[in-house]
Structure formats: structure tokens, C-alpha cells
């Protein structure tokens, strides 16, 4: 017999299957993912890292308005989508560009928001990816609704709902977890705890033993994993998705990672933390350790490394080319999407703007 506490509280330490030196650690509860999954995951990490760095470069060149990078968090980004099936949904935040692309959404469409063309650039139904949420935690309750609707329709759908450590302080985080638990909705709430909400450290958000401990308050299992260990994340998230799919209800997963770069290019991290704090996290890099592990296991060689690098080069080139093109959003669209049928007042205002524009041109 397991007690409620044993069933709902997270592991004593974050689950880690591969440490920062690339050394394997077996876990009685969480098995090592299949070699093919890890090799595939490695390739996705390489691509994800490249997207982050290319997008940051494009901000410096004025091609993106802003880019909140997930540099160093790519294992979380990639694992969140690798454990999903086609019928499942992803609810990302503004920092989850890599996750969205890893789900198969076009990278240029993904960056529409940050480029400033429109608020969301992709069709959410195509890959079952909700629009990126910029308010914190508000998307988590939508995730519960999508999951509940799927259950009512008898569909085999699990929803992966992403948020950061700061968002766990929001009321909507609490309401989403509580609703999901009460309605037994198939949702995996996946917190990427990167230690910072812009400048505010985790200690100012909570004094809970860990964010995963919050699950027990909702009667929901909480688990925590090393957020820079793709193997551990795949195993923990995969188990959570499996439980949700089997009708066992929602789960909370906290990945402990670190935001090695500033909040965005507009932020100055030197005002609130020093390099000595960042340095050890650079050693815990998710890509470096997976490379070391796979190489030692004989699963990764220079040919595969080269293939992954080539795929990353290709996507980086697509990003550069796509974002170098000048796009002029059509001002008429400002009025086109508010209602199925525009109100008479909006029609008047659209005509006013059109008239103003035609006089500008003349």
C-alpha cells in the first residue's frame, strides 16, 4: 500500500538519468528512453539551440522586435513535444519557440508574434499548438478546457501545458490545477523552473520545498526532473502523459533548469545576478551532456553529428532568409478578424483608415 504522500509527492531529488558529465544513473521508477529517441532528441536539441542563437542574432539585426530565448533550456523544449502524439495539444508560452517548432510548426510563422507582424502567425489547429501566451498562466485554464472537451467527445487527447516558475504565483495557475484535478482532465502541467521571472529569483516567488510539491495540494501527483537532462525529462514526462491518457488525471512536472541568458535582449541580467552564479549552469548544458553520453554509448559519431548540424544550418538559413524579407502587414486586417461579421461601426472605421491611406499615397 502506498500512502497518499508517496503517491502525490515528488521524488526526494530531481529525477536524473544522465548527469552533467554524461554518466548514466539508473532510476528504479524511470527507465532510460530508447536509444533512437535519444539520438532523435539530440538532433532536435542541436536544431533548438541553433534557433535560439539565430533568433537572438536576428534581434540584434533588427529583424525581430524581441526574442525571449530558451538557450540552455532546450531539453525541456524538445522533451515537451517528443512525448506527445499527433492528437495531443501543446499550450506554449512566449519562451517556447523551440518547442513549437519541434512540434512541426513553421519557424517563420512561429516568429510572427516576435517579429511584430501579427499577434499569432500559425494555425493552432494544424499541429494542435495553442497561440503563444504572453500573459502568465492564463493559457493553463484553456488547456483544461481543451482537455475536458476532448474527454466529452471521447477523444484520446492529452494536453501539455507549459509555464515558467514565475507563473506559478498567478491565480490562474492555481485555478487551472484545481479544475484539472476536479474534472480529472488529461493535462500535464510542465513547469520550466529556470530560477528567474525577469529579475526576480525563485525565492521571491515561493518558499515551497519545490514547485512539484504544489501538486499534493490539488490531489495531483507532482514530480521533478533535472531540466537539462533530456533522458530524465523524456521518461518523467512520458510517464505523466501515459497516466493522463489512461484516464488517471492530470500531473504536475517541474523541470529544474536555468535561464543562462537575460530575460530578453531588452533585459540586463548584470543588474540582478553575477557571472559566478551562471558559470556552473553552463557546465550543466543539456546538449553537452547528451553528446557525451551518446558518444560513450557508441550511439553518436561524427556522421550523425554532421547530419544534426546540417539540419540546424538549414533551419537557421530559413530563418535568416525568411526574416530578412520585408513583410508589410495589411492595415485592412486590423478590422477583419474581430467578429464573424464586422459591426457597422468597424466597417465605418475600416473605411476611414482606407481613405486616410489612399490620401497618404496620393
Amino acid at each position: 500500500m502506498t500512502t497518499v504522500e508517496e503517491r502525490l509527492l515528488p521524488s526526494a531529488d530531481p529525477v536524473q538519468l544522465v548527469d552533467e558529465h554524461g554518466v548514466r544513473h539508473d532510476n528504479p521508477q524511470y527507465g532510460m528512453p530508447a536509444p533512437e529517441a535519444l539520438v532523435d532528441g539530440y538532433a532536435q536539441l542541436v536544431v533548438g539551440r541553433r534557433i535560439n542563437d539565430q533568433a537572438s542574432a536576428l534581434v540584434r539585426q533588427g529583424r525581430l522586435a524581441v526574442y525571449p530565448s530558451s538557450h540552455g533550456q532546450e531539453a525541456c523544449q524538445v522533451a515537451a513535444t517528443m512525448v506527445l502524439g499527433e492528437q495531443d495539444w501543446l499550450f506554449p508560452t512566449y519562451r517556447d519557440t523551440v518547442s513549437i517548432v519541434s512540434r512541426g510548426v513553421d519557424p517563420i510563422e512561429t516568429l510572427t508574434l516576435l517579429r511584430g507582424d501579427w499577434h499569432s502567425g500559425y494555425d493552432p489547429y494544424e499541429r494542435k499548438v495553442a497561440p503563444q501566451a504572453t500573459p502568465l498562466a492564463t493559457q493553463l485554464v484553456h488547456a483544461v478546457g481543451v482537455a475536458h472537451a476532448a474527454r466529452l467527445k471521447g477523444e484520446d487527447t492529452v494536453v501539455m501545458a507549459l509555464c515558467g516558475d514565475g507563473a506559478t504565483s498567478e491565480g490562474d495557475f492555481h485555478e487551472a490545477l484545481n479544475f484539472a484535478a476536479v474534472f480529472k482532465a488529461p493535462v500535464v502541467f510542465f513547469i520550466q523552473n529556470n530560477e528567474y521571472a525577469i529579475s526576480v529569483p525563485l525565492a521571491r516567488q515561493t518558499v515551497a520545498p519545490s514547485l512539484a510539491h504544489k501538486g499534493i495540494g490539488y490531489g495531483m501527483p507532482g514530480e521533478r526532473a533535472d531540466g537539462n537532462d533530456l533522458a530524465g525529462l523524456l521518461s518523467v514526462l512520458g510517464a505523466a502523459v501515459g497516466r493522463a491518457r489512461a484516464g488517471e488525471g492530470p500531473q504536475l512536472v517541474e523541470a529544474h533548469t536555468y535561464r543562462v541568458q537575460a530575460h530578453t535582449n531588452a533585459d540586463d541580467a548584470t543588474r540582478y545576478r553575477n557571472d559566478a552564479e551562471v558559470a556552473p549552469w553552463l557546465e550543466r548544458d543539456p546538449l553537452k551532456r547528451l553528446d557525451a553520453y551518446l558518444s560513450a554509448e557508441g550511439l553518436l559519431d561524427d556522421v550523425r553529428r554532421g547530419e544534426a548540424a546540417a539540419a540546424a544550418d538549414k533551419i537557421a538559413a530559413e530563418l535568416r532568409d525568411g526574416l530578412m524579407q520585408e513583410v508589410s502587414p495589411d492595415p485592412a486586417e486590423l478590422f477583419a478578424h474581430l467578429y464573424a461579421t464586422p459591426t457597422p461601426q468597424l466597417k465605418e472605421q475600416a473605411a476611414f483608415l482606407q481613405d486616410e491611406l489612399s490620401r497618404e499615397e496620393a
Binding site: 494555425d123 478546457g145 475536458h148 491565480g171 490562474d172 459591426t343
Partner: protein, 328 residues
Amino acid sequence: MPYEKLTMAQALNQALRDAMRADDTVLMFGEDVGALGGVFRITDGLTAEFGEERCFDTPLAEAGIVGMAVGLAMNGMRPVVEMQFDAFGYPAFEQVVSHVAKMRNRTRGKVTLPMVIRMPYAGGIGGVEHHCDSSESYYAHTPGLTVVAPATVSDAYTLLRRAIEFPDPVIFMEPKKLYWAKEEVDLSVEEPGIGTAVVRREGGDATLIAYGPSVPIAMEAAEAAAAEGRQLQVVDVRSIVPFDDETVCAAVRSTGRAVVVAEASGFASVSSEIVARVTERCFHSLAAPIRRVTGFDIPYPPPKLERHQLPGVDRILDAVDTLQWEDS
């Protein structure tokens, strides 16, 4: 059986029932809407008829209720949610403004949200603090929302049916003071559609413009004025967004004088918007500035003082008297 004598509460209940019978994807949920049937009994018997999956109680959290409705609507459902009282809807404000109102626009029409937020609103029932707010102006100010407020039993039924069928989110303001008003109604009537105002009473001397709980007061005032020889026309706005400029302006042009009656505080409100729009469009037909009879700019008063806040017949007639009559 087209004509039935129903209260507004019964008509709203019937509208929900008929909508749920007509479409399996219509869901009703909120606080106390299940076994209890809602604190105003608007959802009475729906769980019994349609089961727990279609009409259910949720945890007590309005942002969660509205946010969950967003997700359900994204995934093929037509949720109808109840905010138990006007002022209890405020915790859901971020969901309403940042998501309900914006989803279609931010996704360029890819994600639409056919959902209804039912909101028992306004005062006149002796309710204590936080139970009597007229919050329509907050929603009317938010682009992307549709806001309606029925004033008759018949409109309550039809507008709720139309709101549930509507392709976009509707804030449905139910004047709780009128829940027990009785009327013979023809439930087979298809009109009105959302977006139309209606002339409730003809009269050539001045126009009273009202919506929701203020319409019966305006009708009473018109009755009293007629006894004194002044014929007042009454326009029921009923669709605040979209606003029916055409009907309202045609009415005002026909009389040349107007008073807007609304229970909400007047400053920066739906009533001030109506005055501005009508003035911009009808200035040359106006014989006098448009006047307003609204609630004071104060928090809704406690029950023993609420009569001072509510627009009444005397205040309306006094306002009408100031419209620069040549014969006075």
C-alpha cells in the same frame, strides 16, 4: 402553443433547455448551476434533463470558469457560463479581456470562441454590497465582445437563443430585477437578431433611450408624460454591442429631443457613449442637448439607500422638462 405566460427567469431557463436540446455541444456550467439550479433558478432542472456532463457545477473560481470555457470552445463545444452576480465576474476580467475578446483577432480568425457569459446584473432587488453592479460599460469598452441586455421576457428568450448560436463570444447581461416580470411570450418568434434596437413606444415629442432594467422605467415615465399631454417615444437599445445607430438615430431625428436612461454610473459609460454618438450623427435635428438620467458616480448603495441611485419616473420627467420646450 406559441403563447405562454412566463417570467423572464422561466424564459431564460427555456432558452437554455431548447438550445441544449437543439445542439449537443451546448454546455452550461458555473457556480451552483447544477443541483440547485442557480441562485436565481435560471438553470433549474437542466442537470436532471441533460446530465452532469452537460450542466455542471465547477470549483468556485470565475477566471477558471471563463478560461475553461475558452478551451472548451476552442475544441468544438458551445459553453454557456454563469457569473453568479455582476461583481463576482471581476476575477474573470483578464480572461474576458485578454482571451475571450481577442482570440479570433490574434489568430486571424483561425480560432473562434462561440461562448456566452451570462451575467445577472444591476440592482433594485435590495441586494447587499457586490451584488448589484451595472458592469456593462467595462465589457462594451472591450473590442471583440458582443454585449446584449434584454428588457422583456420575449427578448430574454430570443436573445439568449441567438447568443448561444452566435459565432462569437457574447456577454449576456440579465437584469435581475426583471427576473420575475411576467409576460405572454411567443417562443416561436425568430426575431430579434443581435444588433438591433427596437422602438417600444411611439411618441413624437421626445425620445427616451434605455436598455435592460431601465426600459420598464422609461415606459412608465412615457405613460406618466402622456397623462400630462407629452408623447414620449421609448427606444430599447437591447444590443449594446453592436450598437444599432440606425434605429436609435432615426428615432431621435423624428422627435429632436432625447434623454438616455441607464442605471450604471454615468461617467465614461454606455450612456455617455450613446449621447456622444447620437449628438455626432443627429446634431442638426436636435432642439436641445441630450440629457442623461443615470446612477450617480458612487459605489452601488446599500439596500436602504438604493432608491436614490436608481433612475425613476420623476427624474426622467424632470430631465425631459429641461429639453428647451418652446411652449414652456
